[in-house]
Amino acid sequence: MKSYIIPEYTVDIDRDRCIRCKACIEQCTYGVHHYNAEKEAIISRNEECVNCQRCVVFCPTKAITVRKNQNSYRKNYHWTQDMIVFAKRQAETGAVALVGMGCDRPGFTYWDNLLLNASQVTNPSIDPLREPIELRTYLGRKPSKLDLAFNGGEAALATELAPQLCVETPILFAAMSYGAISWNAHHALAKAASELGIYFNIGEGGLDRRLYRYGERLIVQVASGRFGVHKEYLNVGAAIEIKIGQGAKPGIGGHLPGDKVNEDIARTRMIPLGTDALSPAPHHDIYSIEDLKQLIYALKEATDYRKPVAVKIAAVHNSAPIASGIVRAGADILAIDGFRGATGAAPKIIRDNVGIPIELALASVDQRLHEENIRDEVSLIASGGIRNSADVVKAIALGADAVYIGTAALVAMGCTLCQRCYSGKCPWGITTTDPEISRRLNPEVASRRLVNLVRAWSIEIKEMLGGMGMNAVESLRGNREQLRGVRLTDTELGILGVKMAGK
């Protein structure tokens, strides 16, 4: 069938600058460029270009420009170009249209409507270059009261604390599975987490034994597919996360195509080589809250109550009562993944229409747990759509103990959000299992970039905290007085628990 879809991008190669080195041909995994010997020129197939910018970056003479195709359909605010292409693609394939990364539509980002406070006159701001400012955070279940015992004047703890995760900055790497991302990317994230004193959630694809040495800085995941879950796996990580849902695709399962399942991945996931790895939409042993409780305690039993158990849900309409149930079911950490959360592959229609923004979900969950007097028992991790250090600070002020970053970490390693992760051809070597393409990502360099990103954010968080007159991050948690809203309705302000700027 002839495709009626017009190319989204056009590739322009400056003939004067081009030295015919063919680096672009080598770099493009989608086969956009080829060399025409007769014309002695690089010719590009625009229709294959995903605008990943790989060839642009690696062109030694900076001869390449990728542009949005100027040739477009008639301007229509209802039937946007995107919508027309989407419908045509389905008409041509008869299939669910897949996409990678998080929702890219405008209008769902509340971070940009929230502004932070700073001290003036009555309260000195604190300069992080001169005074210590502390970002250390402990994640895990806390008792509502601490009992001390005194033995000959010496104080000792009479309350035994549940196991805690310690992060030196309130940022964790979000769940990304081996298979969805390459071995080198997985390795880089584990190494960076270890160096930073934070944690990397390894996602639902099991853990390659070569990464066991990073175990104390890993969170291992148990998802509906149960890939690679065994006793040693559960015990090698610092914590276990039960994945119920994902912000990019609430309510549906996952699918790693068989052609991505090579020998290493098959062994790690404990599935046959080349078979599709299907994660069912629900856990088939969790049809309600009491089943979740059983799984939480089964995992605690399997690890001797030495590891915190987290539960991750997608942000949906009734997240608040669900969250309350999860805390009462025994979860030590609750992770909420919002509408902007990313994925390696999701139906576009689900990604762009199901779930709610993390800002609203986080604020309402924090408020509900507070009203039920159980907020302080659990740690809350916000996830899905954190782009910079200010988003982190705002999330904490809305009630999060810490945040997960996924997309930001991928961006640090090279990702340009071209949204074609599901193709397995990621030209940056991140979301691919092709050994040749994976080699493009040097784990040492990628790890350095990740460490740099988190360090830079941490310095910025200290600047913002100090400006607000605080020298410990726990003083910001749930401290919504430090936030003000702009361009928001009273209802939105009410749910966020934030006053209008100027009030």
């Binding site: 001290s119 009555t122 309260n123 000195p124 604190i126 005074e131 210590p132 502390e134 250390r136 402990y138 806390k142 008792p143 509502s144 009261k145 601490l146 009992d147 001390l148 005194f150 004047g153 010496e154 104080a155 000792a156 703890l157 309350t159 604390l161 805690q164 507070h370 007097n373 907020r375 302080d376 002020a397 607000m468 007159g469 605080m470 020298n471 410990a472 726990e474 003083s475 910001l476 948690r477 749930g478 401290n479 919504r480 007085e481 430090q482 009030k503």
Partner: protein, 382 residues
Amino acid sequence: MKATGEVNNPYGDDKVIDSCSLFGMMNTKGERFSSSNPVRAIANMHERVNGLGGGFAVYGIYPEHEDLYALHIMYLDKGARKDTEKYLDRSFIVLLGEEIPTREAEVWNPPLFWRYFVEPKGSQMQDRQESADDYIVDKVMKANGKPKTFVLSSGKDMGVFKGIGFPEDIAEHFCLEEYEGYMWICHGRFPTNTPGWWGGAQPFNILDWSVAHNGELSSYGANRRYVETHGYSCAMQTDTEVLAYAFDLLVRKHGIPIQFAAKVLAAPFWDEIDSMSQSERSVLTALRQVYGSLLMNGPFSIIVAHQGEMIGLTDRIKLRPMTAAIKKDFVYLSSEEAAIRLVSPRPDRVWNPAGGEIVVGRLESPEILQVALAHHTLRDAR
């Protein structure tokens, strides 16, 4: 009638912002002394205040009623008094009710002040399965929700006198020269707005606890959420209120010795905790893990008093001043050393406690629980 919070904070600000002078003076033998020195000392720090608030918490003033809760209540008119007295009669056995003597002074628009010596009604207590203290807290919170009524203090053998004026004028208004106590906590105030409401002055009190506070808590939002979880309602929208509740929760309800409570409110830095011995480290780590939301972040110096103890504390990087001194049986805490030297020119010892370092003046009484704690930064002033 507006709720007390609205009267105290008519603009609905997050908190009342002010700067202040503090002075505390205690006789550790429990010998009672007059208002003369405390009032002279606080008046000496005139530059720090602007006449929009002053007050005193005095301990040991009602020895003849020492087993009864003394309620100091402010009314904006006689009608409020009649309504609230009916409520008091329903909630308590009221053994004595009388007007607090006042005189004309340079103060702004004084309301009515009454005091009542009460005990909880036994039958109601049994139904509620709670301690007398919890019962009083609950009833005080409810009384503060009543129109034109505010409870200034609710402890035993103590009372709070405060209002709008310079502290020395407030002392004049309440005839404080007629009282004797073994511990005086004094406060002068420089608010950044004009609340114009006598209940908003300091010291702030709940039960036995009084707090005089200089500073602003950036962490107020987090602190407030935490104490609310534990049953306190922050009706006043002042950060000082949160300090009082934090002490009540930690020391009275959770049984945490005051020295350790100070390590919650002005927690040591993680670097310090990490370098402590194993046993200290485990206790202080757990305190920060569990009570992190009670870290009082931002500039503050406070004098906290309860029966038998006077406590001085600053924020952990000491963004507000505090000087301590000892002269024989007297312990002094003050925003300025000059105020101490005015009333005690040659103290045995004067020092500036480090940020987050607690100073405790304690009665030499066998009835006061003495918990000896070995901790290198804990210093007992007595």
